[in-house]
Point group: C2
């Protein structure tokens, strides 16, 4: 991002000018600036204050600054361009790191099947900007302080309505916690469970590998529970000796399994019997294509389930806005852990999201993008049937990715490597399996950001890579 203006840097440069010193003012200023650049304290590209401003601040004649700048420009430390100010040039200093050698050119990119990210081109820049602006204009002065650690009341109210209506979540605002994405909701939950004495947490196998890392980092043992076509094998919980379980009932990651009705009931019964908690990750609930929506598990047992979601799949993961609907019993502990982690989430974007939901813009946005993703899904499924008929796609009914189970004997890494050589990026699945050796070797193909043409061409190239293995 190039800076747009060239004037007005802070006056309190820590370049000491000692009037009693024998060295001249100009020489002192030069030495101070030169040292700051050499040591990296003034970074490459930094815009220096206008000579007039710096002279005023240091109480020296402007000519002193002009001459010092000129000298350092002559020495190669500064560059000055008419109308865009004086900047620090790139200089080799002690602390600068060696640049990495450029990689060999990987050739043209045909398609990058990136999972878990919606299409950036669909981000509603205009309406989001309008809501943010309205927040800036209307937020009353007394709110310009530390925000409520639990989340802005306006957002909790909007989410309570939305989640109740769309996902069947029992979510009155008093039991909602706003977090920095679902990630922080999980981190905070793990800390609360740990503080309550839970040591072992059941997690789906496979699951999103990053979540496993988070669980381990919070000091919990991550106990893998297998996932099959009916979702988590709930029966195995009885032998797993875990104090809580983490599950994605509506669409497991990466396999895309849906927890069957019988297992939902069984899971709730297990939690009630054991006084255990269930963490429900409802990460891509808004995208269902040819299946009746499955309500949130939380609606069945709001006192046993911590329901989590975010804007990462509906809007963009760059917003870092997520939430938990928690059992009333846990909300004070969760609020406290959130408070002691970062005090609260930023208020402006919370309020912008509240307006985005309440105004109906979120619903409008989803009505616009669902058919788009559905067509891309259709294109991907058809292309796989044509170019890679040996592979078996899983989890096609929902979400923004497929799991492509590979034919026996085909290694994930070998296929990913061969695909990359043909300009196609696919994700290997093994990281998501507990022991890194999947019983169902596969590739994860995220399709949300790709045009139908790119999907076609990408799968064709993937088929060619497979054929050449």
């Amino acid at each position: 991002m190039p800076p747009e203006q060239s004037n007005g840097f802070p006056p309190d440069l820590l370049i000491g000018i000692d009037r009693s010193a024998r060295r001249g003012l100009r020489a002192q200023l030069e030495a101070g600036l030169r040292g700051a650049i050499q040591e990296g304290r003034l970074a490459t590209g930094t815009l220096l204050p206008p000579t007039r401003v710096l002279a005023g601040d240091l109480g020296v004649a402007r000519s002193v600054v002009v001459e010092a700048y000129g000298q350092l420009a002559a020495e190669g430390y500064l560059s000055a361009r008419q109308g865009s100010g004086t900047r620090v040039r790139e200089v080799a200093h002690a602390r600068s790191r060696p640049r990495r050698a450029a990689r060999a050119d990987p050739g043209p990119v045909v398609a990058r099947f990136v999972s878990g990210v919606p299409d950036p081109a669909t981000f509603p820049r205009r309406s989001w900007g309008r809501h943010y602006r309205a927040v800036l204009d209307s937020t009353p002065d007394p709110q310009f302080s530390y925000p409520d650690p639990q989340g802005a009341r306006e957002l909790r109210r909007a989410l309570a309505g939305y989640l109740g209506r769309v996902r069947g979540v029992v979510a009155d605002p008093s039991r909602l916690l706003v977090c920095a994405g679902f990630a922080q909701a999980l981190a905070v939950t793990c800390r609360v469970l740990r503080a309550r004495g839970v040591e072992r947490l059941g997690i789906e196998d496979p699951c999103f590998g990053f979540h496993r890392e988070m669980v381990l980092n919070a000091g919990l043992e991550a106990v893998p529970i297998p996932v099959d076509d009916d979702g988590l094998r709930v029966g195995e919980l009885r032998f797993a000796d875990v104090g809580a379980v983490f599950v994605s009932p509506a669409h497991s990651y990466p396999l895309g399994a849906v927890l069957s009705p019988a297992r939902r009931v069984e899971l709730v019964a297990w939690a009630r019997e054991r006084d255990a908690f269930v963490i429900e990750d409802d990460y891509d609930a808004e995208f269902r294509y040819d299946r009746t929506p499955v309500g949130a598990l939380q609606g069945l047992a709001p006192e046993r389930v911590l329901y989590g979601g975010s804007t990462s799949k509906t809007l963009s993961p760059l917003l870092r806005l997520g939430w938990l609907a928690a059992p009333a019993e846990l909300i004070d502990e969760l609020r406290r852990e959130k408070f002691l982690d970062d005090m609260a989430s930023g208020l402006f974007e919370q309020l912008a999201l509240a307006r985005f939901v309440e105004s109906g813009d979120l619903a409008r946005h989803l009505r616009r993008v669902r058919p788009l993703y559905r067509r891309r899904r259709d294109t991907l499924v058809a292309a796989l049937a044509r170019w890679l008929p040996e592979a078996r796609p899983r989890g096609v009914a929902a979400g923004l990715h497929l799991y492509v189970e590979l034919p026996e004997g085909v290694g994930e890494a070998a296929l990913a490597h061969a695909a990359r050589e043909r300009g196609v990026h696919i994700e290997e699945a093994s990281w998501h399996w507990a022991d890194r050796r999947p019983p169902l070797p596969g590739a994860i193909l995220g399709y949300a950001s790709l045009s139908e043409g790119a999907i076609e061409r990408g799968v064709e190239a993937l088929g060619a890579a497979y054929a050449a293995l």
Copy 2:
């Protein structure tokens, strides 16, 4: 925040309509909505979808929805107003909490001396909004993904320049970490230290009480090291057996002491000898009134000091934007803990801040507010001399608050209570002391948000409260 529009809610209401059931469609819809409201799944105030939209989504005649809404309105579950849609009314349901009894009216407010928060009226709504808008307009599509856990490069570059110039921080972008306020920077730092085997962290006594809670919550022992007029008593570190120390060298909180030059040198020597780390909280560095700016300690020993700051005092704590300039040795561990906490901070406001800094708007903002706060400080000091001459103000040379040491025999709580009765809010200091029993009982008076008139009147009332004790 009142919602602005009344139409367009999501189509996937989880109200089941079973066409094979014997009950009519209208009755089913009514029962579904009624149940959702009773159980709190549809929260008070929720806007229902327009009848046309819901009818289309459920595949029923619009009249079915119109009649169901009408029936529920008649029953008191919904309220409909021309032009503003149909909303859920407040109903007593099982889960609703009893409201707190209203407190007795405390009388008119004369002055609230709240510490740690800048004047909301000075927040640069217009320029912040302009930069945010520019970010929305210019951020390229490929950035609409998970942001860099370490922070946006644009912001780290802008901060590196700013901190180098203004605070003498050795801060190239590769060693900067962007966090959700200084709070998260501290949380992440404590986790890294803990993972490295540090068990005891020296902290100033007194210090910001919330920080002590954070340190304890991270599993570290908080070892109090006394602060006197020269700042932290560094000599006592040698007997404290701590692996790291947390200090505010430029302006301790709440006493406002400045670490003396001799102790700065001594502190760095201690850290080098012990291979220990120093966490430097530079929370209100931008506000110096009648004292030469003191550069950051970090500039003296960048490989031993983790330097932290935020926008909470310069702009507003509601932004939750902070940073660390860390020793190169620690940056990978810090980035990892940040990543496993919330993946990253929201990108838009990071980029808006980068523009705000680079354009010179931050410097302009500071030039505007410094004289304002300085006048308020002057007014407060003069008013104290007039109305409460027995008290001794401390830490007057910098920041946004004073510590008012009370005359012997005056209890903090008694004074705070008597002041409250006269409409004046002051903060008791005892929470900030390790044993809650301050050797220097005092009140903390934040003055940044108060007009000079309110400061005058507030101190006059405080003097009266004191006289009446």
